[in-house]
């Protein structure tokens, strides 16, 4: 088995999430690959656009959604630009699943709090949908999600579905004429809502500055470091701990991560 060889996959559907983000729904072309494929929420994949390069994305679909996988890409570099130019039916390469996952088994019986910002919702969507599908295993689920503008909110088409099993709170940094919801930052909303830290696990993903203040609020609410989870991001090439660039201290984000809790992160050099 060659770990560098991608599986071929066809882009089934492209959903425009925000002006610069698209979600790609892909299906493996080889039925054998599709049958053998299994993953856990929080794992990531390497997506190849042949001739352009490879890029790291988290699997934003949940393992409970069978038969296809999804990932969201914001247009920033050459590979993501090429992906944004792709059309439905195009063939791409996928190496997945890679990395560790959210410890959803350990969380059983606990309340869950998700605090996300912008494209940071992508890794959290996977675990959120997974937990919602196994609602009976978990306590109360709370989602706080914010973005710069209403247009930058991703996965709008799923909010109604989420609301069936979770409390969903949305906020934007700057509203527009059509926006009737809350205006303000995620940390401020978190402080206002003040969810209980008792028997609760918090998951936070988003821009570093948001994470910094969300952490402060979570600490103030009494969350312990080991109950706060996030996914880290580093440049990756091989995705299997060999190419040597995604290390933080002696941990490779691609093998030991991308999911870390803050107790683990506190032991690492402050390099990310």
């Amino acid at each position: 088995m060659n770990p560098y060889k991608p599986m071929l996959a066809k882009i089934e559907k492209i959903t425009v999430e925000t002006p610069d983000t698209k979600t790609f729904k892909v299906v493996f072309t080889d039925p054998e690959d599709a049958a053998n494929f299994d993953y856990k929420p929080g794992q990531f994949q390497q997506v190849s656009v042949f001739g352009v390069g490879e890029c790291t994305f988290c699997l934003t679909s949940s393992p409970t959604m069978k038969g296809y996988i999804e990932f969201s890409a914001k247009k920033v570099g050459v590979v993501t630009s090429a992906l944004h130019e792709a059309e439905e039916g195009d063939i791409i390469g996928i190496r997945a699943p890679l990395g560790n996952h959210f410890p959803t088994d350990e969380w059983k019986g606990k309340n869950l709090l998700f605090a996300g910002g912008g494209i940071g919702m992508a890794p959290m969507r996977s675990v959120l949908n997974y937990c919602l599908a196994h609602k009976e295993d978990y306590g109360k689920i709370t989602v706080i999600y914010g973005s710069r503008t209403p247009a930058d909110l991703s996965y709008k088409y799923e909010y109604d579905e989420w609301r069936k099993g979770a409390d969903v709170y949305l906020t934007v940094d700057a509203g527009d004429d059509s926006w009737t919801g809350r205006v303000g930052h995620v940390p401020g909303y978190l402080k206002e809502l003040a969810p209980s830290s008792e028997n609760t696990v918090a998951v936070t993903c988003g821009p570093p500055i948001m994470i910094k203040f969300v952490l402060q609020e979570l600490k103030a609410l009494g969350f312990e470091d080991e109950n706060i989870y996030t996914t880290l991001e580093m440049k990756m090439k091989c995705g299997i701990g060999k190419c040597g660039r995604c290390n933080i201290g002696s941990k490779f984000v691609c093998v030991d991560g991308p999911v870390f809790n803050y107790k683990e992160i506190a032991d690492l050099p402050q390099e990310f």
Partner: protein, 327 residues
């Protein structure tokens, strides 16, 4: 132990090449010797007369195509596993292959490209007669232990090599040679003892090379981020994977890369976790002396001294690790 007179080297290699593809340092231009497959009639340079570049260039070539796409299919380009014999790499380089093995072969996803060159490769490691000024094997490990990484250890005694087989394969390949007497064995041991100078204290080194040591700034000030240290290193294994378009499809290749380059960790968003020369210098040293011992209990540096010799600005890893520049 066996004896191989230097005049017999060409014949020995000819014999060896009947069953295995022989890889050895050969002349490359005017000043260096590089590891290549030895062509018939070509004489390897193993007498210490030239600066031998690291065997990494053979085990991890400058670039190799991983796969191609053709007609919508992926064509795997994993090379065939062949029988090789690598001759004339330093004992330290043989130890560096053990570091490579940890990186490439351990875990549940071994690297097939590296494995194809490593799986059946008889290692003839060299202990040169003349210890170069830059060599510091003894500071990074127990040199006698490194012999286990080889099939045959060759001690250069001037006019002849004492060949010490370490494995059955090594014994098989050297059985045609004459036996060495006790005086030669003693000379060989004395030669190796000269390389086993210095002390290894991983813990002390780890403490000296603290992540937030203010001295890092000073160490890295003169660094020009050229990355020659990493390209010359036998145990540096970092690589890059890129795509190129070619007629009728695309190919993905991997090429050497260096943690000293600014774009090594530069992300698409423009954010770089190691933006300056200081974090990059620190990364290289900590990777070898702290992270790799934590990951698999082995110092990543083997003390071959090539970075000391090649560094254009004279940064001496021995002084940094020995605490003379970071005290």
């Amino acid at each position: 132990m066996k004896l191989l007179p230097k005049s017999g080297v060409a014949g020995f290699i000819k014999e060896l090449s009947k069953t295995r593809e022989v890889v050895a340092p050969v002349s490359d231009g005017e000043s260096y010797a590089v590891f290549k497959s030895v062509a018939p009639g070509e004489t390897p340079i193993i007498d210490g007369s030239r600066f031998i570049l690291s065997p990494r260039s053979w085990f991890m070539p400058g670039y190799e195509v991983l796969f191609e796409t053709k007609d919508g299919e992926i064509v795997d380009k994993t090379p065939e596993t062949k029988a090789y014999a690598t001759i004339g790499l330093y004992l330290a380089d043989a130890h560096a292959l053990e570091v490579f093995d940890r990186v490439f072969l351990d875990g549940d996803k071994p690297d097939p490209y590296y494995n194809a060159r490593r799986a059946d490769n008889a290692i003839f490691a060299l202990v040169p007669a003349k210890k170069r000024w830059s060599v510091f094997w003894g500071m990074t490990g127990n040199v006698c232990d490194w012999k286990k990484a080889c099939d045959v250890v060759m001690y250069d005694l001037g006019s002849e090599f004492v060949m010490e087989p370490m494995t059955d394969r090594g014994a098989e390949l050297t059985k045609s040679l004459a036996d060495a007497d006790d005086s030669k064995k003693a000379a060989a041991d004395a030669l190796l003892a000269r390389y086993d100078e210095g002390e290894v204290d991983v813990k002390a080194i780890g403490e000296r090379l603290m992540w937030d040591n203010p001295k890092w700034e000073e160490v890295s000030r003169k660094c020009v981020a050229c990355g020659v240290c990493t390209y010359g290193c036998p145990s540096c294994s970092c690589f890059d994977m890129r795509d190129d378009l070619k007629c009728g499809g695309a190919e993905r290749y991997r090429c050497l890369d260096s943690c000293q380059h600014a774009d090594f960790t530069l992300m698409g968003s423009g954010y770089n976790p190691r933006p300056g020369r200081m974090p990059r210098t620190r990364q290289r040293l900590l990777h070898k002396f702290k992270y790799q011992p934590e990951q698999f209990g082995m110092i990543g540096c083997v003390g071959c001294g090539r970075c000391v010799e090649l560094c254009p600005v004279g940064i001496d890893i021995r002084k940094i690790v020995g605490g003379k520049e970071t005290k």
